[in-house]
Assembly symmetry: C2
Homo-oligomer: 331 residues x 2
């Protein structure tokens, strides 16, 4: 049994989901992976919030130095969100030899090279499965099991909020505004829904996917993006009359020597595998030159599905540490 | 760049698909994984068959000793099919320190402990992604990225032949016999279709999944299994009238302290994600206690999709060899 000490940056919804996943499945993880995870430090201001987890107040700190300067810390898990200070904190941790796991799509999309270069320079492992598709293990598949393929296309429904709104509009004949309010009431949309409904969240995810799949860096702001705010009941009705549904699709594919990409509401025939991806679910469609069409489907958000991906990354790193091979076998 | 020498057992359809994947994507694999694969030995009687690949006759042998006694062989890829001599050959290779990759579901279902014990005893890597779901990277996901979860259920459409027949019966109002003949004419069913249509092929795959997911060994012959030979046009019509489709489902799930399992034709509501999995496609549905519902969809058979999975396994092993960490990080 190998003990692995985790320093956690952020104990909001995703941090709490990660903590709960570690707590709930501790016995399973010991049995299945031979690892005994302990969260030994948490960077978080809000010590007193009721989160439904058992966590000692003594491990909270407001100084990231306490986490990355502690020689006992094996893995830093960054769940603060946002580009800064998250990027600086991750680079700081890697510069001190810590392996890093993150769910932070904004930081990755903005600073992909800075982060992957820092990991390579310091010979540490850097994993970010939860940054795209929540609990769906798509990045792991693309960078390991599917690596025999040249990728031709990647396409997906990458945002649960907009998919929930479009599903409600179609299923219950609602206007965009009414469906958005319902999504907000159910916790599927934020009070300011801009980043979701205008496609910015999806652009971050597509940018990360393009870096991994095509080795091509495109900043999120450079991806042609249309959100769903202009979709009307008439659009939905017209799609239905044609045997179609409207989904907000992110797509990147080879064309000639280059890569094309876009994010836009798209008509899909009802027989298409992505057409039955409803509510808050996500799905990612990949085409490789040997495997042909593949699709991955699951919960693209939520504390526990995201916690599943974060802890999965930590298990990969923990196993490598336990075997004395704590360097990047994927690199 | 690390050179990795492969000894191939069998150059039938899957062996040829694996060879083609390695040949077609050699430059990509060098770039993406830093590996230069060479097939240095092939165990195969039929030297002269036209396979559409460039392979020197000098590397063919009919003696497996030539492969596993060659110190230059890094990985043995077993694609003979059938329980024996495949099992003995794989154990023989592992006993001589060779890493092994296989697509052989019959050998795994019959001899799971013998094979995994031989790998552990010899400290070699043993991978079999292609044995379940063809090109779908489900075993990799279940044993790495999803390991933070306690699994509650696994369910799937695991046989392309029967799914093709059921799709044709429903879509074109055919009898079972006519649809079977069409599947045979298109190469989706064998001249003797028994193993597919009676569910034996699916039972092998479900047995492997249960070993991995629940750590529970159930021999294929002990799984309650009904095939599709008794499905009539009337059954299909009745399902349609209820808004359902009939799929041959394999299922294993926790009940109380035990695991239940079965393989049988099952009514699925048309809205279920598995209902739109048509023709020769496979899909696997997993429920974990953190990630909730996940589905993986893709081509469950065929030379190149299967080659994608086999070469993906070889890449994982090759990377570990290249980094000097050629032992099982998943164990």
């Amino acid at each position: 049994m190998k003990r692995i000490n985790i320093g956690l940056l952020g104990l909001g919804n995703i941090g709490t989901g990660t903590y709960r996943t570690l707590e709930m499945n501790a016995a399973h993880i010991r049995r299945a992976a031979g690892l005994d995870f302990a969260v030994t430090r948490i960077l978080e201001r809000d010590v007193d919030r009721e989160r439904g987890i058992t966590v000692s107040k003594a491990i909270f700190t407001q100084n990231p130095d306490d986490i990355w300067n502690d020689p006992a810390t094996d893995i830093v898990i960054e769940l603060l969100g946002g580009v800064e200070p998250a990027t600086s904190f991750m680079v700081g941790a890697m510069n001190r030899g810590k392996h890093v796991v993150t769910a932070n799509k904004a930081a990755l999309a903005a600073n992909y090279e800075i982060l992957t270069d820092a990991a390579a320079r310091n010979n540490v492992m850097f994993r970010f499965e939860a940054s795209v598709g929540g609990g769906i293990p798509i990045l792991n598949a693309l960078t390991t099991a599917l690596l025999a393929n040249e990728y031709e296309e990647i396409m997906g429904i990458l945002n649960g909020t907009t998919n929930y709104i479009l599903t409600k509009m179609a299923g219950e004949n609602l206007t965009y505004e009414t469906a958005l309010k319902e999504a907000q009431a159910k916790g599927f949309a934020e009070a300011d829904p801009t980043a979701d409904v205008e496609g910015e969240d999806v652009a971050n995810k597509l940018s990360i996917l393009m870096s991994l799949v095509f080795g091509k860096r495109v900043l999120p702001g450079d991806i042609p993006t249309s959100g769903i705010t202009k979709i009307t009941k008439d659009d939905i009705e017209a799609a239905k009359a044609d045997g179609c549904v409207i989904k907000l699709l992110a797509s990147a594919f080879k064309r000639g020597d280059g890569i094309d990409c876009f994010i836009q509401p798209t008509l899909l025939n009802k027989d298409h595998p992505l057409a039955s991806v409803d509510n808050e679910f996500n799905a990612i469609f990949v085409k490789g030159n040997a495997v042909h069409d593949l699709m991955f489907y699951g919960k693209g958000a939520g504390p526990l599905p995201t916690g599943s991906a974060v802890v999965g990354d930590a298990i990969e790193i923990g196993r490598a540490i336990a075997k004395g091979a704590a360097f990047d076998l994927r690199g």
